[in-house]
């Protein structure tokens, strides 16, 4: 989802920047205590892969397609903090180099899609029993898309409540929860099935290649 600048009130995006900055600082320490010759290019390559994953078409019935986020797959393969940092870098690159998405929506996207998406996907994958790994990867892909959609729907729906004039007219995004929740959750619940399926196929392929990403 690429929400342009101007729809999110400063009352929301400024505190979110503070929260995101803390998580980015912690994430940088988790990814590599101090980014060095090995961890820095690794994170850069993961960011590039995450960026390119967003251009992989997610096939939909009827010949149409949406785009993969890949956060669930990245979290399963590389861990939630790597996935979060890579996704965050992608949002920075998209916003500041390509003008795609906004700088005021960057912390919301990073926290929802990057952090919550990666943590939830990894959590679901980890709690799934070993013999149901495929189901775990599928659910990781699904929840890595659906839960961020829920958070973004809540953030958008909160705009009329936190920023309105004396007459109650909204100043930023105008629709409340009654509209944003179904408008985002229903399509993303369905898109999540495709993301989950693609995560399983991508995961199987990587497993088949027997590439030990984690140890490199």
């Amino acid at each position: 989802m690429h929400i342009p600048d101007g729809f999110i009130a400063p009352q929301m995006y400024l505190p979110l920047y503070g929260l995101a900055a803390g998580l980015w600082a912690y994430g940088a320490r988790r990814v590599g205590r101090d980014l060095d010759e090995a961890s820095l290019p690794w994170l850069a390559s993961l960011t590039a892969a995450s960026f390119a994953l967003s251009f992989v078409a997610l096939p939909l019935p009827g010949g149409t397609s949406a785009h993969v986020t890949g956060v669930g797959l990245l979290a399963v393969l590389f861990g939630p903090w790597h996935a979060f940092m890579a996704a965050s870098m992608v949002f920075v690159i998209q916003a500041l180099l390509f003008g795609d998405g906004g700088v005021t929506t960057l912390p919301l996207n990073a926290l929802a899609m990057g952090f919550v998406g990666a943590i939830s996907a990894y959590g679901v994958y980890r709690v799934t029993p070993e013999r149901w790994r495929v189901i775990g990867v599928f659910l990781a892909g699904w929840i890595g898309l659906f839960l961020p959609a829920l958070l973004i729907a809540l953030a958008l729906g909160a705009q009329p409540l936190i920023a309105h004039d004396a007459a109650g007219v909204p100043l930023y995004f105008p629709f409340g929860f009654a509209i944003t929740l179904p408008a985002l959750l229903i399509p993303h619940a369905l898109l999540g099935i495709g993301e989950g399926a693609l995560s399983v196929l991508g995961w199987r392929l990587v497993e088949r290649l027997r590439v030990r990403y984690r140890n490199d």
Binding site: I3, P4, D5, G6, F7, I8, A9, P10, Y13, L14, L35, D36, E37, A38, L40, P41, L43, A44, S45, L46, T47, A48, A49, F51, A52, L53, F55, V56, A57, P59, G63, S65, V68, G70, L73, A95, L96, L97, G99, D100, G102, V103, T104, D165, V169, L171, Y172, P174, F175, A197, L198, L201, G202, R204, L205, V206, L209, V211, Y213, D216
Partner: protein, 232 residues
């Protein structure tokens, strides 16, 4: 001739001037900006880098101020100011800004018009002007910033962040081009449009290839950085 900054293999300091025997001719010309940032206290910052960092700071402040504006008159004034700032690029950048925001803004605006007309029988003119002007001004400001600023230099306050950005962007563009090749290859190999199953398998293979390539790129970059002694 493009000005080049060349990294010496023996250390982190850089020299400015003509390409030398040590120059990495494949490196983007913006890469050395990254290395001008130093962790040494009191180290001099390249004037160009300082200029780009000031632009980044000004952009951040302007973004916060404009995002807080709600009066259409102020927003129209801001739009005028940003158009002046864009100079000769204004028509091109304005067109890009409109195209980049049109889909989201149009859907939200039309839906809100329908809702308010349905409920109160009036068109929310003030909201339409203020939100759409704000969205347009902020998008235009971003495109002007992108056009006028070398982001790699602006982020050169952190060598590692800047290096990572350069590596990520250069690899991203290469991976994206290869994905386009994959897509075109698939289209060219069938008279009919591929079925859902085949498209899923193709997408999964593309994703798998991306991750495999990312690992290879990481190794190559790590070896390149190590061999050049950029972290010592």
């Amino acid at each position: 001739m493009t000005e080049r900054y060349v990294a010496r293999p023996s250390g982190t300091r850089l020299i400015q001037g003509r390409p030398s025997d040590h120059a990495d001719t494949t490196a983007p010309t913006y890469l050395p900006y990254a290395a001008t940032a130093s962790t040494e206290p009191g180290a001099a910052v390249h004037p160009k880098v300082r200029g780009e960092q000031i632009k980044l700071l000004a952009y951040a402040l302007a973004t916060v101020v404009i995002s807080a504006l709600t009066e259409p008159l102020w927003l129209a004034t801001a739009l005028f100011g940003v158009i002046l700032l864009a100079g000769r690029d204004a028509p091109t950048l304005l067109r890009r800004a409109i195209l980049a925001t049109l889909a989201f803004s149009a859907v939200v605006s039309l839906a809100y018009i329908v809702q308010t007309v349905w409920i109160s029988g009036t068109i929310p003119w003030k909201w339409l002007w203020s939100v759409n002007l704000r969205v347009l001004v902020m998008a235009l400001l971003t495109f002007v910033f992108i056009r006028r600023t070398n982001l790699f230099a602006a982020l050169a306050f952190s060598r590692r962040l800047s290096f990572m950005l350069v590596l990520a962007v250069s690899q991203s563009l290469g991976l994206r081009r290869t994905l386009d090749d994959f897509r075109l290859a698939m289209h060219s190999r069938g008279l009919r449009r591929a079925g859902l199953r085949d498209r899923y398998r193709a997408a999964a293979h593309a994703a798998g290839w991306l991750l495999d390539r990312a690992l290879a790129n990481a190794h190559e970059s790590a070896q390149a950085l190590q061999s050049r002694g950029l972290f010592r």
